[in-house]
């Protein structure tokens, strides 16, 4: 059940990603429509975050091709925003909430340029949008998990992009933050933005997303949520990894054998 769309925002073609020769994503192939909130769903270790990192060019591809609006990522970075997993950074870093959000303006600044008054205003607006304005001078280390997540989202907003990739924004956040994030996603969709969210909780997935991608090392389904949420497809996703696929992967790693051109 893999539905393709016309004029896709994201087009992933035959993507394979490997860590130390061991493929963690096998031949992923899909297209995503614009203006939707899209969920990438799958169990732990399914390769959801890996998929986002591959799309953003953070990790190398073993094979395949990724195009955004039919361009390679390096040509359209200014139109794309990436929200890493909250745990991927050290929140003890000496910075305030405001300073982290200001980083979202960095792509717009040239080497010698300092943030302007306008940049600071945008930072304030973005903080207000995630209901964090009152914390602007707080040390990031003093925030709760949900607040930290909202700071990351504010930074993404400050990028003023059209396409957003968010890695587990709902992981470990309190109810107030979760509600604030959902509200924000809806606002963004209303502005015509496309948001791709990695999510592991099946309970809430149906409620949150318009379009759903089911993955577990391979792509199981991609389409509008009504068509994707079937017992068969969910069973295929959560029913465990394919034994043979896993075995072959281990073998490739052990024999240091390159499955694709990665070398």
């Amino acid at each position: 059940m893999i539905l393709q769309v016309e004029n896709p925002v994201v087009e992933v073609h035959d993507l394979t990603v490997a860590y130390q020769k061991k493929p963690v994503l096998w031949s992923i192939d899909f297209t995503l429509p614009a203006g939707n909130i899209i969920g990438i769903i799958g169990p732990n270790g399914a390769g959801k975050s890996t998929l986002l990192k591959a799309i953003m060019g953070i990790i190398p591809l073993a094979s395949g091709q990724i195009r955004l609006w039919n361009f390679p990522i390096k040509d359209v970075r200014k139109r794309v925003s990436y929200v890493p997993q909250r745990e991927s950074v050290d929140w003890d870093f000496p910075a305030s909430v405001k300073e982290v959000v200001l980083m979202g303006r960095y792509p717009k600044l040239s080497l010698f340029q300092r943030p302007t008054k306008k940049d600071h205003e945008i930072v304030k607006q973005c903080l207000a949008q995630v209901e964090m304005l009152e914390y602007e001078n707080r040390q990031i280390g003093q925030l709760s998990g949900g607040q930290q997540q909202r700071v990351f989202l504010a930074r993404a907003l400050a990028q003023e992009a059209e396409l957003y990739f968010m890695d587990e924004p709902f992981a470990g956040v309190d109810m107030a933050s979760e509600a604030a994030i959902i509200k924000l996603l809806h606002q963004m969709r209303a502005q015509g933005k496309t948001i791709v969210v990695v999510h592991h909780d099946l309970q809430t997935a149906y409620e949150y997303f318009d379009w759903i991608l089911l993955i577990n090392q391979r792509l199981i389904a991609s389409g509008p949520k009504e068509k994707i949420f079937t017992p068969e497809l969910l069973q295929a996703t959560y029913g465990g990894k394919l034994t043979t696929l896993t075995k072959i992967g281990e073998l490739l790693k052990k024999k240091s054998f390159s499955s694709r051109k990665d070398g």
């Binding site: 953070i58 890493p84 300073e99």
Partner: protein, 429 residues
């Protein structure tokens, strides 16, 4: 002795000026790049590079046969970079973990360096005297031309870090995001690493290869205790580094026979120690005081609350009781100590009446709130954690002291303005 000190402080001799200036700038540039290494959790890298430059110096000397500083430093720079490449290679090609890979590279390179140094010392080449100064450092041995070189390199480092400040800050905080916005992360990492190697290479003359890593990391560690902002942290770290450099130059001048590296390290150690202890909020002393204050507050709040309850139960009149009576009533000997009562008096929460103490109206208000949040918390536990009424009191005894007005409001809302606690007692509003 004193004349030497005065001579040093007044910079009367031009030579002193150079040595001091060179040492200070060395300290600044090392602290600057060291701060980024520290924030990127690469403190070990400094150690690896500094130990690994020794064979580079020796090989450079063996090639040219004289002590030409720029050439020796070039050798050091190359060896430093090679050691990092070796670490990288070990991590990626073998299953060795990063800490072990650093240890392997460090010891191998340093061993090779000492080996070469011994060979050089036995060649009988007169030019080699002083080469062993590179092990523990001697700031006074800085020559005028060397100082210009170090000064130039240090200034370059400071200028480059200022230009790429945004980039380095983002790289240190969130590398993935830096990649995602298209920063040339690999190139930036090479630049930052090169600056680190240069800072180390500049530092070995004064610090020696064994100790120069501390000039990178100690200022950053100390500064982190005082600062919550990256720019401020860098400024403080650089000041500490400059101070370290100054101390080194000073000692070298007073006692030329003594290696300056250890002195600088000892000076940095005391600065770092003072920071661990004395820094506001994060320092040991501040945390100790916070703990003490909390303990006192808990004592005071408990007394207020106990007096309030005793009045509520009709055991006392007009909120007045002696410490002995209260201790007996609560079956708690510690309540006999009168210091907490005295503190309550000083805060106008109670007044002394003979040997007894009476709550003021302000004290009654305070006590009432304590009882209120205690009972609200009990109710919350009973409701939301499904604890039986006889299990909630102990927990509330400690939690009541940290409930903020904000949480208090939330509790009242969640519990829908409750009137009684799980034991059936009224919640005072």
């Amino acid at each position: 002795m004193w004349s030497a000190v005065i001579e040093f402080i007044t910079f009367r001799e031009p030579n002193i000026r150079f040595v001091v200036l060179g040492s200070i700038f060395m300290g600044i540039s090392a602290a600057l790049v060291g701060s980024f290494a520290y924030l990127r959790k690469q403190a070990l890298v400094g150690d690896t590079v500094s130990h690994s430059v020794l064979p580079g110096i020796c090989i450079a000397f063996l090639c040219i046969g004289t002590k030409n500083t720029p050439i020796l430093l070039l050798g050091a720079f190359i060896a430093g970079w090679l050691s990092l490449l070796a670490v990288d290679w070990l991590i990626h090609q073998t299953k060795i973990k990063p800490d072990s890979a650093n240890a392997v590279a460090l010891s191998t390179f340093f061993g090779l360096g000492v080996f070469l140094l011994t060979i050089i010392q036995h060649t009988g080449n007169a030019a080699q005297t002083g080469l062993d100064k590179f092990i523990f450092g001697n700031a006074a041995a800085l020559l005028k031309n060397d100082v210009w070189l170090f000064l130039g390199l240090a200034l370059c480092t400071i200028v480059l870090v200022s230009i790429f400040f945004k980039h380095f800050a983002l790289l240190s905080f969130d590398r993935q995001f830096a990649v995602s916005i298209g920063y040339p992360v690999k190139a930036l990492e090479v630049l930052l690493t090169s600056l680190t190697v240069i800072a180390i290479v500049c530092g070995i003359q004064a610090m020696g290869v064994v100790l120069v890593a501390s000039l990178l990391i100690a200022p950053a560690v100390a500064a982190r205790f005082w600062c919550y902002n990256l720019k401020k942290m860098l400024v403080v770290a650089c000041s500490i580094g400059a101070l370290g450099g100054y101390v080194g130059a000073f000692i070298s001048y007073l006692a030329p026979a003594m290696p300056s590296g250890p002195w600088i390290v000892v000076a940095l150690f005391f600065i770092a120690l003072a920071s661990f202890i004395g820094a506001p909020q994060k320092g040991i002393w501040a945390r100790f005081r916070l703990g003490q204050n909390n303990k006192r507050r808990v004592q005071e709040e408990n007394i207020l609350k106990y007096i309030y309850s005793a009045q509520e139960d009709g055991l006392i009149k007009e909120y007045t009781i002696t410490p002995q009576c209260l201790a007996e009533l609560r079956n708690n000997k510690t309540l006999e100590a009168i210091e907490p009562y005295k503190r309550l008096c000083r805060k106008n929460l109670a007044i002394q009446k003979g040997s007894a103490y009476q709550l003021t109206s302000k004290g009654i208000e305070y006590a009432k709130r304590m009882v209120k949040v205690h009972r609200l918390w009990e109710l919350y536990l009973a409701h939301y954690l499904h604890l039986p009424p006889d299990h909630v009191h102990e927990d509330a005894e400690s939690i009541e002291h940290i409930i903020t007005p904000e949480i208090e409001k939330q509790l009242i809302q969640l519990l829908d303005n409750p009137s009684t606690d799980p034991h059936g007692k009224d919640i005072p509003y």
